[in-house]
């Protein structure tokens, strides 16, 4: 019985110090970045692909999607502790909102993130209600890996492309 006293005393003495330590989940900051673009897959004959300068980092990705021309819409990022709901409002002809909630205490290799993309198409007439698209999902994604949403709803030409990525590293 007496042999248990020493470890218990040591544990009691260390408890305040252990409690003061920041756990990874507590100190974990996650950056979420949303990039939106309007892309087209058709290319006019003799016309070189047009890539907006702001989308050069995603040029290869967009080519894989079969897009030949891109119009940059928005690029925005936020950084907050994991578990926080991050809300993005993207300008454009459509009112686009993106909400992202990275999992708290998740592993960087496979972090879960809850996403909601809301696209509101203005009513053609004041009397009609706007058409709202709400896409909800939750994915397990590696740190820095991106997910692409494509939607042709309400886009005059081509498709609306929303690229969402999350990382422990700051994303610009």
């Amino acid at each position: 019985m007496s042999s248990l006293v020493r470890p218990l005393l040591l544990l009691l003495l260390c408890a305040p110090w252990l409690g003061a330590q920041d756990t990874p989940a507590r100190a974990e900051l996650i950056s979420v970045r949303v990039v939106s673009a309007q892309g087209e897959g058709e290319e006019q004959a003799g016309q070189e692909p047009r890539i907006a300068a702001e989308l050069e980092d995603w040029g290869e990705l967009l080519r894989k999607l079969g897009m030949q021309s891109y119009v940059f819409l928005e690029r925005v990022s936020q950084r907050a502790p994991a578990g926080t709901v991050l809300k993005f409002e993207l300008p454009g002809e459509l009112l686009t909102e993106v909400k992202g909630k990275p999992e708290q205490g998740g592993k960087a290799e496979q972090r879960r993130i809850r996403l909601e993309v809301r696209i509101t198409k203005p009513a053609p007439k004041d009397a009609e209600a706007p058409r709202v698209l709400v896409l909800r999902t939750e994915v397990r994604v590696a740190d820095g890996q991106e997910i692409v949403f494509r939607c042709a709803e309400g886009v005059p030409r081509g498709e609306l492309i929303v690229i969402v990525g999350a990382s422990e590293e700051p994303l610009e």
Binding site: K64, L133, R136, T137, V139, R150, E153
Partner: protein, 182 residues
């Protein structure tokens, strides 16, 4: 030599003596002279025996030895009931072995240490970043699911009744395509 002793050594038997002669012989053997004569005779016989050849056993003696060997029980057969109990030789008592529980305690501690280190040791140190990523993806891999390296759905995408949602992978990129229903 004394006539009585001479008579004895020359083959005179007691049955040949009369009662008086036998009594005289006994008295003489118990007398100092008789004892001295016997001692001297014993010495002479001892010296003479050293120069004699070993005596040859009679044929009857060999027959008795052969019969005694035949009467011995066969090897491995149970001893006869009347046989005397074999002698029990007590082995020297071995010192008591130390208790085994410290050894088992050490083994249990070693196992716990290995398991504990294995749980918390970063896999990057052993497998490298790619190997760690590949191993962690095994936890979520499902038959017919997304290819390795592609983000996996925890909650499938849903956009309501007016839209069709499909998803596919381009290399390691997950693409979610939403289109209105016709």
């Amino acid at each position: 030599m004394d006539p009585i002793l001479d008579a004895v050594l020359n083959g005179t038997h007691r049955g040949d003596l009369t009662a008086e002669q036998e009594q005289a012989l006994n008295d003489y053997l118990e007398s100092p002279e008789g004892l001295a004569a016997l001692a001297s005779l014993e010495d002479d016989l001892g010296q003479a025996a050293a120069h004699l050849e070993p005596p040859e056993l009679p044929e009857s003696a060999w027959e008795r030895v052969t019969q005694a060997i035949r009467d011995l029980p066969p090897v491995g057969a149970p001893a006869p009931a009347a046989a005397p109990a074999p002698n029990v030789v007590a082995f020297p008592q071995r010192p008591a072995e130390p208790p085994q529980w410290p050894k088992f305690l050490a083994m249990a501690a070693a196992v716990l240490l290995v398991v504990g280190v294995g749980l918390f040791l970063p896999l990057d140190l052993i497998l490298g970043p790619q190997g760690s990523k590949a191993l962690s993806s095994l936890d979520s891999e499902t038959p017919g699911g997304t290819p390795p390296g592609v983000p996996e759905f925890v909650v499938p995408p849903e956009a309501g009744p007016g839209y069709v949602v499909r998803h596919y992978a381009v290399d390691e990129l997950l693409v979610i395509h939403v289109a209105p229903k016709d």
